[in-house]
Amino acid sequence: MPVTYLLGEGTVWLGLAYVILVLPYAYRSLDAGLRAIDVKTLSEAARSLGASWLRVMWQIVLPNLRTAVLSASFLSVALVLGEFTIANLFSRKNLQVAMFELGKSDGQLSVAVGLASLVFAFVVLFAMSFVGRKEKS
């Protein structure tokens, strides 16, 4: 594969590629979260009370972006799990291809893995709806 000649097969490079791929999606959800609060006034209030910038980020901005950060994370996980093109360019297999190949050698195990991934997806979706609801109450 051409990309591996250029960059090697390092996981770091694959990770970097995924970060860039996921950025616009994560941005969307973080942006919506930032718009929902008055970041400027909140951080000015915190600073006037004596908080450093680091503390403002950690104790004021992030807690109020909890929902946005979580949904950005879930979105990223979902996106990366289903990604094939970039993984292939780095001579790697993604989940679906691995399961397909597994099915050719051991049918039973393949079905089990498929079921497990379904359960995982269900749990993630369930958790996500739960997080969204908690913020509103």
């Binding site: 209030a45 009370l49 450093s52």
Partner: protein, 368 residues
């Protein structure tokens, strides 16, 4: 209220803003040689039209913006280059600024937590502060469970909890409706007198400024036009701008000679700082004018100027008559006259009346 923030009482810090300048992009001078001295424990209100630089002045004192020139001294210490978090300023903002993920109590405790106070001290202090603003029962509520007025009270408690050197109020009442506004306004004054913290209050509402402050500074175009007690500001404005901006004012054309304006058929002495002899526009307060129906002879006997009533409005506690002066050349000036609410019905549009200046109550600053 029995809650007394022990060490803060009778404590006050002196504030000196000297020759402050702040230039925004596009060479807009938001502050242009602004100088203000606030005595320890004093409550000063900055009043002015939008864009006059009053909020900029407050933000410079808070350290939220950097001055392009001049110095800021708090308690004798030069803090011009000290970051906001080290300035020890309690601030209440126009926009609701409670941290949404914390309860009222946690909000008040936030600043104390940063000051590494132990839990018991924090709790006690937060309870005292919430008691001071009358919200002890709402201590465990989140911002979205409180009304706007309650949120601003908590914000005030949060600002005072850290025993700030200076309390900065950036139009804290503008987002509230009229009744809550005047209530909270009086409460702010009561609390400020109780804790004795030096306070700078920025507002565009003159009634607010006059009601609460020890001294009011009227700002225009990045400068302080006049700094005086509310009564002095109203009765003895230093410049036409102040006279025009503070209180309602009639603008009347007249002739000025020897420091006296010939207006409404009477002679009114001009205040210091007025323009010289000749034709001028003179500012006269609505309560400085008397009105009487033609033929009644009840306008102080000195005759007065003939006018025709344009409208008569009942304003609750008082009434307002607007009349147009009869003029030999062109259209005469409109004059508003403040009257007792019971007198409003005595006048109807179209009726001819006599207007006269009311002795010493008339104010005249010429604005040529």
């Amino acid at each position: 209220m029995t809650a007394t923030p022990s060490p803060a009482a009778s404590r006050g810090t002196e504030v000196r803003l000297t020759d402050l300048t702040r230039v925004y992009a596009g060479n807009v001078r938001a502050l242009d040689g602004f100088t203000l001295h606030i005595a320890p424990g004093e409550f000063v209100a900055l009043l002015g039209p939008s864009g006059c630089g009053k909020t900029t002045a407050l933000r410079l004192l808070a350290g939220l913006e950097d001055a392009d020139g001049g110095t800021i001294e708090v308690g004798g210490r030069d803090v011009t280059n000290v970051p906001t978090s080290k300035r020890d300023m309690g601030m209440v903002f126009q926009a609701y600024s409670l941290f949404p993920h914390m309860t009222a109590r946690q909000n008040v405790e936030f600043g104390l937590q940063l000051r590494k106070q132990d839990k018991a001290t924090r709790h006690g202090r937060a309870a005292d502060m919430l008691d001071l603003v009358g919200l002890s029962k709402q201590a465990d509520r989140y911002a979205h469970q409180m009304s706007g007025g309650q949120q601003q009270r908590v914000a005030l408690a949060r600002a005072l909890a850290i025993e700030p050197q200076v309390l900065l109020l950036d139009e804290p009442l503008s987002a509230l409706d009229a009744k809550v506004r005047s209530q909270l306004r009086d409460e702010i004054r009561r609390i400020q007198l109780e804790v004795g913290t030096t306070t700078l209050f920025v507002t565009h509402d003159q009634e607010e400024a006059l009601a609460v402050a020890d001294r009011v500074g009227v700002m225009n175009a990045g400068r302080l036009e006049q700094l005086a007690s509310p009564a002095q500001l109203y009765k003895n404005p230093a410049t036409p701008f102040v006279a025009d901006f503070v209180g309602l004012t009639n603008r009347l054309h007249c002739r000025v000679a020897g420091g006296v304006a010939q207006v409404l058929g009477g002679a009114v002495p001009l205040l210091a700082g007025s323009a010289g002899d000749g034709l001028a526009i003179v500012l006269v307060r609505p309560e400085g004018v008397t009105i009487a129906p033609v033929g009644s002879g009840g306008s102080g006997g000195s005759g007065g100027a003939a006018a025709t009533v344009v409208s008569a409005s009942f304003l609750g506690a008082s009434g307002k008559i607007v009349a147009r002066l009869e003029s030999s050349e062109g259209v005469g000036d409109l004059v508003s006259v403040q009257v007792d609410n019971t007198d409003v019905t005595a006048y109807a549009p179209g009726q001819r009346v006599l207007l006269a200046p009311r002795g010493d109550a008339a104010l005249a600053v010429s604005a040529t």
